[in-house]
């Protein structure tokens, strides 16, 4: 692996792309500490310090620490993601959008355009909410230096501009760098805080607030969990496929045997995101309406509570199945196979194949759902039972590992053909002669 990484710098184009990616991510991180005008940074920081050890949830993760700093990137990329998801759902429902989605490149670009508009709208809305909330002392007193309409407007515009800039950065990375820009930005945001958290952990030991013995199992657990995620994300259930359409040089070289790979976790992080979005509703509503009855429900459904966890797990499992069922239709797949003249050895094409795939899929999805649920509930347990000072696990960890794996795979594919220098390394004169 290490040798492979040194290869990166041997390929000029790859080196350029990697450096570009780092450069753009650096810009992002710098932006994360640029403060929004009108906000008292110190007051905000105080508030968050006091909040340490509790759960921030998704918003914080997606803002990558920008929220605590009250920076212009406070909203993070979340509005864009929300807008995308909404638009994706709308495409299924609104015929005009469905038409657009089928119209090739032009239609897709239009949809992307709509997504961007949606992002702006959502950002404005969220900016307003934050300004309003801050004024009302949501994050501690004295955070806003000059409350009022002007402050709200300025905040809205600033935060929206910030999110738009992040969007642009992401697209630049995708275009000129490695991997998917938006994913990498989220990734950067999440891991940016990890070193600080780990340092904090060690500081605690140093300052004798914790015993060494307490840390070791935590670290071991972290390593195990990360290892588990890597293992599961890379795992594949391979369904052997055979083609019976032609007679060619039938010497099959190793690696060319065809199979249909099924991933264990087809839905990725979508189920926990949906699940927590849904669970946020009652608590958010409770905040706005000061009704004792609603308050009680809001309390029970706060993250960390048993009821919350139970419903959370149930929703995750449900959405895993739901998402897989929607995106992966065994009948379509079987049909697809038939059309390419491929089949699963031992099964007739058509319905028997579809049934077989369906059975396997159901079993896999179950395992996948349990896995995702476990990872997502982990941080709650860690924090409430073991007093771990930071948020470890859940969707952020899944995203970090997932994005890392994807990016590495992309890097690998750029370096593929370097391996044949031996036999094919022709002497200078004939390299690329024609």
């Amino acid at each position: 692996m290490v040798g492979a990484f040194s290869n990166i710098f041997k390929i000029p184009e790859l080196k350029r792309r990697v450096l570009m990616t780092f450069g753009l991510l650096a810009v992002y991180r710098i932006g994360c500490v640029v403060p929004t005008p009108g906000i008292n940074g110190a007051a905000l920081a105080d508030y968050f310090k006091g909040l340490q050890g509790t759960i921030f949830g998704m918003v914080s993760m997606f803002s990558g620490g920008a929220l605590e700093n009250g920076s212009i990137f406070a909203l993070g990329i979340m509005p864009y993601i929300s807008a995308s998801i909404i638009l994706q759902l709308l495409t299924v429902v609104i015929p005009y959008l469905e038409r657009l989605s089928k119209e090739g490149e032009v239609g897709r670009r239009k949809i992307t355009q709509y997504t961007r508009y949606g992002t702006v709208v959502l950002s404005l809305f969220q900016g307003f909410m934050i300004a309003y909330g801050l004024e009302r002392g949501m994050m501690g007193p004295g955070v806003v230096t000059h409350p009022g309409m002007a402050f709200k407007l300025m905040t809205m515009i600033t935060l929206t501009a910030g999110t738009a800039f992040i969007m642009w950065l992401g697209e630049q990375i995708s275009e000129y760098g490695i991997g998917n820009g938006i994913s990498l930005i989220i990734f950067a945001g999440i891991i940016a805080r990890m070193p600080a958290a780990i340092v904090q952990l060690f500081m605690d030991v140093w300052e004798a607030e914790r015993r060494v013995l307490e840390i070791v199992p935590i670290i071991v657990l972290m390593v195990v969990v990360v290892g588990l995620i890597i293992y599961v994300e890379r795992a594949q259930r391979k369904i052997p496929i055979q083609h019976a359409k032609r007679v060619v040089g039938r010497k099959i070289y190793g690696g060319a045997s065809t199979y249909l790979p099924l991933r264990i976790n087809t839905a990725g992080v979508i189920p926990p995101i949906f699940a927590s979005s849904i669970l946020m509703f009652p608590t958010t509503i409770a905040q706005f309406f000061e009704h004792p009855w609603l308050q009680a429900i809001g309390d029970q459904l706060a993250p960390g509570r048993l009821l919350y966890n139970l419903i959370y797990v149930a929703l995750i499992i449900f959405f895993c199945y739901f998402y897989t069922a929607v995106t992966f239709n065994p009948v379509d797949v079987a049909d697809n196979l038939k059309r390419s003249g491929a089949y699963i050895p031992g099964r007739r094409p058509g319905k028997p194949t579809a049934d077989y795939i369906d059975r396997i899929l159901t079993r896999i999805t179950f395992g996948g759902a349990i896995y995702v649920a476990a990872i997502c509930v982990l941080p709650t347990i860690l924090i409430s039972k073991f007093n771990v000072p930071f948020y470890f696990g859940g969707t952020s960890l899944l995203i970090v590992v997932g994005v890392a794996l994807d990016t590495i795979q992309q890097l690998e594919s750029h370096m593929l053909t370097r391996h044949y220098e031996g036999f094919l390394g022709s002497k200078g004169k004939f390299k690329g002669r024609r």
Binding site: G104, V106, A244, G249, A256, P261, R263, V269, T327
Partner: protein, 784 residues
């Protein structure tokens, strides 16, 4: 390399995002200097011109930069052309030549004299002795242009040659040795592939590539870019027992036992058919692992019976099955069906056995063009394709203004509800125009369309001539007369290209036709891109002549139907032209959508073919090295003891000669096998995208997986290749002279042939795959 200043200016305009140059000042400056030299040259004798040319050539060979020789050279060529051809290149043609030398694509309208414009840059770049290729649109033009411009080159001391389809090896070798070679990209590309089979340096046809000037650049570089050139050979591998299964398959009933898909490109058995077949053959399950070969043969037999039709896809002649080429409609000499279909067809028709076919090498036109270190192009329609040309080929576009401004009138489209209404209106329009003696040129999309129209005109007592690109030379003559009074010419897009259409047979007639409004060009439908529409429009209005262009569109046109846009258009009935501006807008939009789709298919296809192309180059480079005897002995590295013993016995030279022959032989087969493996991977790769999602639940782009698998396959192939070489060396009888290729069975396939892929039996897998999977993968704007 172009001058620093030009490079900077070009960078600037590209940085602004526009790869099109409108500013010709740098070229005009050069032109002024060239013009200044002209007076002096007119007084020189032919021999003196020849001597001047020779001195320039010497300077170039001595290493002087061509840019320093440009002004002298161009002035020389101009004067020579004036004398030899009685044609003095206009200023705009000289500027065009300068831009071509600069490695640009020039947009130059039809009839402005591109052929002549290309001579100066071709000659200049050939001075170093590395050879220049001029890629023409068809074989006839290659010969015509080479012979036409030949005298200019000869006087200036350089030899010119051309290649045509059907030429023999010696002729081709002679042609490529010339300084300037005219030929089609297709033929030169095939020769490139054929050189892949050369067993010795003597058998090579071509020299290394240096510079190419591409005529009709947008056609070749964009529209035809994705067409693969294929070199195939005969092979002894066949499917088992085709005969007995052919009979069984013949008993199956259509629609009950088997079905075909919408485009009749695939056939599959139904459950009923499967059961019936299993019963007949006495097998429990055809889809068991053990029965794979049997199933393959059955599928092949089914394909042969249902999808391939006698006298359409193939003919039976002299107890043999012969293939009909889908592009030309003629019988393809020597070609065999690949993948086992030859055997299946022979079983179906009950004729004698021949060898099957297998692909030995292939390259897309796009990758072929990219082999040239320096490129330039010319066309009448470059600007719409400028971005793509820049992206894929790093070519900029330079607009060369016409000698006289274009006064062509482009009429609005006439839209009809049905094909029938459109055809009726077409005939009416032609009749009306023809009645006044104004010449008409009708451009159709397909051969059948042109024939249908000709029929209809015939019934209406209107005489017309039809061009279908069946005979380029004859058609060039016909098209040259398309501007004569009362001429009605029907032509498909491919026919009659490159020939100037002058108005009138003589001056008098010409004036009359100009009065009438010039040549009237009618398009029978819109094409898949506006650029192609413009190509048709550009056939009239040359050199300041008047002309009219108009398109007839119907809502039943393939363009509308194929892309399912019928529903988008407002419903109307009636035989008269639809006047609804909304309809017009929707049609224009439809065209833009298709342009975009084609562009994205091309982009994706480039990504997928890139890795195999890289591998191909590696193998080719290795082959070149071996041919020229500059390689490390594999035997030495793999089996040192055996090597030592061998050297003792036959000497180092003997071992080298032997291994050379062995390596060359195995390279061909290894690469051929690898191509088959890649095809298998390609077929299976869309399955990959079905199961794979990334962390956000969005299907992953299969490109990554494809690259990895193809790469692994290549690595395995190379390892096996080395083993095979060593093994053969061990088993062969080696003498100090090497070995006897015949005896060791190291000869190549008994016959080879070349063809272009249009719609081979299983279709161009990628395109089907993309159209199907595109929705899923690309529909998430957020994640790729």
């Amino acid at each position: 390399m172009p001058s620093l200043r030009t490079r900077f200016e070009r960078w600037l305009s590209r940085a602004r995002g526009v790869p099109v140059t409108y500013d010709l000042k740098p070229y005009e400056r050069q032109l002024a200097k060239i013009n200044a030299r002209e007076a002096a040259l007119t007084t020189q004798s032919d021999e003196q011109l020849h001597a001047l040319a020779a001195s320039l050539r010497q300077r170039a060979r001595d290493g002087e930069a061509l840019d320093r020789l440009t002004e002298e050279g161009f002035a020389l060529v101009r004067e020579t052309a004036r004398r030899a051809l009685k044609m003095r290149p206009y200023d705009v043609q000289m500027i065009a030549g300068l831009a071509l030398h600069d490695g640009q694509v020039i947009e130059m309208e039809t009839g402005e004299g591109k052929t002549l414009a290309a001579v100066a840059p071709a000659w200049l770049n050939a001075l170093t002795g590395d050879g220049v290729h001029v890629l023409t649109f068809n074989d006839y033009l290659a010969r015509r242009d080479a012979q036409w411009m030949g005298p200019v080159y000869e006087i200036l001391g350089l030899h010119v040659g051309f290649v045509q389809e059907g030429m023999r090896l010696r002729e081709r070798q002679a042609a490529y040795r010339a300084d300037i070679v005219y030929g089609t990209a297709k033929e030169i590309g095939f020769d490139y592939l054929r050189d892949q089979l050369a067993a010795s340096v003597d058998e090579l046809r071509q020299r290394p590539f240096h510079f190419a000037i591409v005529d009709e650049a947008d056609s070749l570089l964009i529209d035809e870019a994705r067409i693969p050139l294929v070199l195939a050979g005969s092979t002894a591998e066949r499917p088992p027992e085709p005969a007995r299964l052919a009979a069984t398959v013949a008993e199956l009933r259509p629609a009950i036992d088997y079905e075909t898909d919408e485009h009749a490109r695939n056939v599959f058995m139904t459950d009923i058919g499967l059961e019936r077949l299993e019963q007949r053959l006495g097998i429990a399950s055809l889809h068991d692992e053990a029965n794979r070969d049997l199933l393959t043969t059955i599928n092949l037999a089914l394909h042969a019976r249902v999808l391939l039709h006698r006298d359409i896809d193939y003919i039976v002649r002299d107890d043999r099955v012969e293939l009909v080429d889908e592009f030309t409609g003629r019988v393809a000499e020597n070609r065999r069906w690949p993948d086992g279909l030859q055997a299946a067809l022979e079983a179906k028709e009950n004729v004698g056995r021949q060898e099957d076919g297998r692909i030995l090498g292939s390259i897309t036109l796009q990758h072929f063009i990219r082999l040239y270190p320096k490129l330039a192009g010319m066309t009448g329609t470059a600007v719409p394709a400028a971005e793509e040309l820049a992206q894929f080929y790093e070519l900029g576009v330079v607009i060369v203004p016409p000698n006289k401004p274009c006064i062509r009138r482009d009429e609005g489209d006439l839209v009809f509800a049905t094909q029938a209404a459109k055809e009726k209106a077409l005939v009416e329009a032609i009749r009306r125009i023809h009645a006044a003696d104004q010449p008409v040129l009708v451009g159709t999309r397909t051969v059948s369309e042109s024939e249908r129209l000709a029929e209809a005109l015939h019934l209406a007592n209107i005489e017309c001539r039809v061009l279908n690109a069946k005979n380029d030379e004859l058609e060039a003559q016909i098209i040259a007369q398309a501007g004569h009074a009362g001429a009605v010419t029907i032509s498909t897009n491919m026919a009659g290209r490159g020939t100037d259409i002058r108005l009138g047979a003589d001056d008098f007639e010409r004036r009359r036709i100009v009065q009438l409004g010039g040549l009237y060009v009618i398009g029978t439908n819109r094409h898949e891109s506006r650029r192609i529409d413009d190509q048709l429009r550009g056939r009239c209005g040359r050199q300041g002549d008047p002309g009219v262009s108009q398109f007839f569109v119907s809502l039943e046109d393939e363009l509308i139907i194929k892309y399912g846009l019928r529903e988008l258009l407002p419903k109307t009935e009636g035989a008269s032209a639809i006047d609804n501006p909304r309809t017009m807008r929707e049609i224009a939009r439809a065209q833009r959508i298709i342009e975009g789709e084609n562009l994205s298919i091309r982009k994706t296809l480039t990504k997928y073919t890139a890795i195999v192309e890289e591998q191909r180059r590696m193998i080719r480079d290795k082959r070149d090295a071996v041919l020229h005897d500059e390689f490390d002995l594999v035997t030495a590295t793999h089996d040192a003891e055996f090597y030592r013993e061998l050297v003792e016995r036959v000497g180092e030279r003997g071992v080298r000669l032997a291994e050379r022959a062995v390596t060359l032989h195995h390279l061909v087969h290894a690469w051929s096998d690898h191509l088959a493996t890649v095809a298998d991977i390609r077929e299976g790769i869309h399955l990959y995208s079905i199961g794979q999602t990334n962390i956000y639940g969005v299907p992953k782009d299969p490109l990554n997986e494809y690259q990895i698998r193809v790469s692994e396959a290549f690595g395995a192939m190379v390892r096996k290749l080395e083993e095979d070489i060593v093994q053969t060396m061990r088993a062969a009888t080696i003498t100090p002279e090497g070995l006897d290729a015949q005896r060791e069975k190291l000869t190549g396939p008994s016959s080879t042939w070349t063809y272009l892929v249009n719609d081979m039996p299983y279709g161009h897998g990628f395109e089907r795959f993309f159209k199907g999977m595109k929705q899923r993968i690309l529909n998430s704007p957020m994640f790729r």
